[in-house]
């Protein structure tokens, strides 16, 4: 095939398909075994300095914040992160100096809430590098290629733009149509963390919401840490197997963390804690503020329950439930 154009972006997390299969054969157990463990154990066993990491959900929705905080607590360094609409998680991890390289589809912003002071400061001062650009579909399809065990997926986005020029894609002449077509390389994150509504002790999981990219990401990540609101019996999984969106085969750790997405949303359960997000956005305007936030909410607590207590406890969580079900009005404390 004739290569018409090559993006200059760093090719993150790509492996030869046979090498990728070989890794799966050697490292992924086929045994139904109890994978439950603590947040601390999951992060210390499966997240290593320098890893290429990816977080499930989307933006401030269904994010495994319990794992994000633990990565900061264990002072993991030189991580590379998939900026696949990674917002609050990425902002805090960059601000805490855990992540210093990013491939960006959408990062450094909090959607309607405005831009991210902490992570933008790190990029604009050269402390965090953007090693490649892509789009949301571009990232999504990197995971799709990887979960299929193939080296790339052809697509018709990113063409003709600097986003494509700064990506890790290649444009070739399609041997079927004769038209230029973009090839999106597979991406196998070293570790992904995904928060779900419920799963069994083996990791068979159900999500009561849009899946975003988690169908693909769960299957392509080399290691998968799953945090869950609730652990259910395997019999419940087997009685309605069509509800399983992640099978146990790809899961390495199961961690029960109720409200584990806070201050992000868990669809059908609790809404964003805008007050808490606003506090982060305000404090993170300075590095001192970032340190203050981290020492209070991350280093200063010994459990996720302890953290939730600090954020307003059951009273706040009940409010977030009512807000999710539209029983409280919209608030925007981050609005200037």
């Amino acid at each position: 095939m004739e290569v018409l154009k090559e993006g200059r972006g760093e090719l993150l997390g790509w492996h030869d398909p046979d090498e990728a299969r070989d890794w799966v054969l050697k490292n992924k157990s086929r045994e139904l075994k109890d994978k439950t463990m603590s947040v601390k154990e999951a992060v210390s066993r499966f997240v290593r300095d320098g890893d290429f990491i990816a977080s499930g959900g989307f933006g401030h929705i269904r994010v495994s914040m319990a794992i994000v905080y633990e990565i900061i607590r264990q002072k993991k360094r030189n991580l590379v992160m998939a900026g696949k609409t990674a917002v609050h998680d990425l902002d805090i991890l960059v601000g805490a100096d855990c992540v210093n390289r990013v491939e960006v589809a959408y990062s450094f912003g909090h959607e309607l809430r405005g831009l991210s002071p902490a992570s933008r400061r790190m990029v604009e001062s050269g402390q965090c590098k953007v090693v490649a650009e892509t789009s949301n579909a571009g990232y999504q399809w990197r995971f799709l290629a990887a979960m299929m065990g193939i080296p790339f997926i052809p697509s018709r986005n990113l063409l003709g733009t600097d986003t494509g020029n700064y990506s890790s894609c290649k444009v070739v002449k399609d041997p079927f149509s004769g038209k230029p077509i973009n090839l999106i390389p597979a991406a196998y994150p070293d570790v992904a963390f995904i928060h779900v509504h419920r799963c069994d002790i083996y990791g068979n999981a159900q999500i009561d919401a849009i899946l975003v990219e988690d169908f693909e990401l769960s299957r392509c990540a080399r290691r998968l840490i799953m945090t869950t609101e609730e652990i259910i019996d395997n019999e419940v999984i087997r009685s309605e197997p069509w509800k399983t969106v992640v099978p146990f085969l790809v899961v390495d750790a199961v961690v029960k963390v109720p409200y584990g997405s806070h201050p992000c949303e868990m669809p059908g359960m609790y809404y964003y804690d805008e007050e808490h997000i606003a506090e982060w956005l305000s404090l993170s305007k300075t590095q001192e503020g970032v340190d203050e936030y981290l020492s209070k909410f991350v280093f200063g607590v010994d459990s996720f329950d302890n953290y939730l207590e600090l954020c307003g406890g059951m009273k706040k969580l009940d409010y977030l439930k009512r807000r999710e079900f539209l029983k409280e009005p919209m608030v925007a404390p981050w609005r200037r």
Binding site: F58, T85, N136, W141, R156, T163, A209, I210, G268
Partner: protein, 259 residues
């Protein structure tokens, strides 16, 4: 300047966004104004407009303004809560009539920058990047762009970074690059006017001025030359009912529209 009084600029932009949408079509929306415009269109002239969100919300009945394009509101009473792969594949396969985006910087061909101001590797200002914008602009049959503040800083000769494709560098450039045939920018809406694109040169061309705006203002607030039509129309104004829906039903907290 837009004659304010009955409404503010932001309300006018939201109304204008809604006015270019059509019933029984699909629209793929970005955060902020595009969502509000689609909600208003659904509540007025286009009750069967199907709203598509990139993260997987297909055809929701939006109960309030979503803060994110991936939150539960985006699949509230939807026909499907699926995935990004599904939303993006449907788009690439031709199911999207309108793409609707906000932008920071645009050139005369409708190309958009939302990535950096300055150099890419050490930028003066780092912006969020493409998100789903490059995808929507590549795949949607007709792209609508809202730029809330048209000025010499936002209507530029040369983008710092071409994040999202308009007509690239002119006629036939999209097809030559491999983008789907017949797609591209359709309307640009700013605080001053509504624009389309000249068929021959694929360049920005004025359609209508908002009430109180002069042609000179439009020309002064752009680095590049804007093509002028033989007859310049006046943009339609929102009715009292449009304003009531915007203020009471869509954004009562004034998050996007202001108070």
């Amino acid at each position: 300047m837009l004659r304010e009084g009955k409404y503010n600029v932001r309300e006018f932009l939201a109304f204008t966004g809604a006015s270019v949408l059509e019933d029984k079509k699909t629209v793929f929306v970005g955060t902020g104004f595009p969502i509000i415009a689609a909600m208003l269109a659904q509540k007025t002239h286009s009750p069967k407009l199907v709203v598509i969100f990139e993260a997987g919300g297909l055809g929701p009945l939006l109960p309030e303004l979503p803060v994110s394009v991936g939150e539960s509101r985006t699949f509230h009473k939807a026909v499907a809560a699926s995935s990004m792969h599904d939303a993006m594949s449907l788009s690439q396969a031709g199911y999207i009539d309108f793409g609707f985006l906000g932008a920071a910087q645009m050139d005369m061909f409708g190309n958009i920058n939302t990535t950096v101001i300055g150099e890419h590797d050490l930028p003066n200002s780092r912006l969020p990047g493409s998100g789903g914008a490059n995808d929507v602009a590549s795949f949607a049959q007709r792209l609508i762009i809202i730029i809330a503040k048209q000025s010499k800083r936002t209507f530029v000769n040369k983008l710092d970074f071409l994040t999202t494709p308009g007509f690239l560098n002119g006629p036939n450039a999209r097809e030559k690059a491999g983008l789907p045939k017949g797609t591209g920018p359709y309307r640009v809406i700013t605080q001053l006017a509504i624009y389309g694109f000249d068929k021959k040169g694929e360049r920005l061309k004025l359609i209508s001025l908002h009430p109180g705006v002069s042609v000179d203002e439009v020309i002064e607030n752009s680095q590049f030359e804007i093509m002028l039509p033989d007859k310049i129309e006046t943009s339609p104004e929102p009715t009292d009912e449009d304003l009531r829906i915007l203020r009471q039903e869509i954004d009562p907290a004034g998050i996007v529209l202001g108070k």
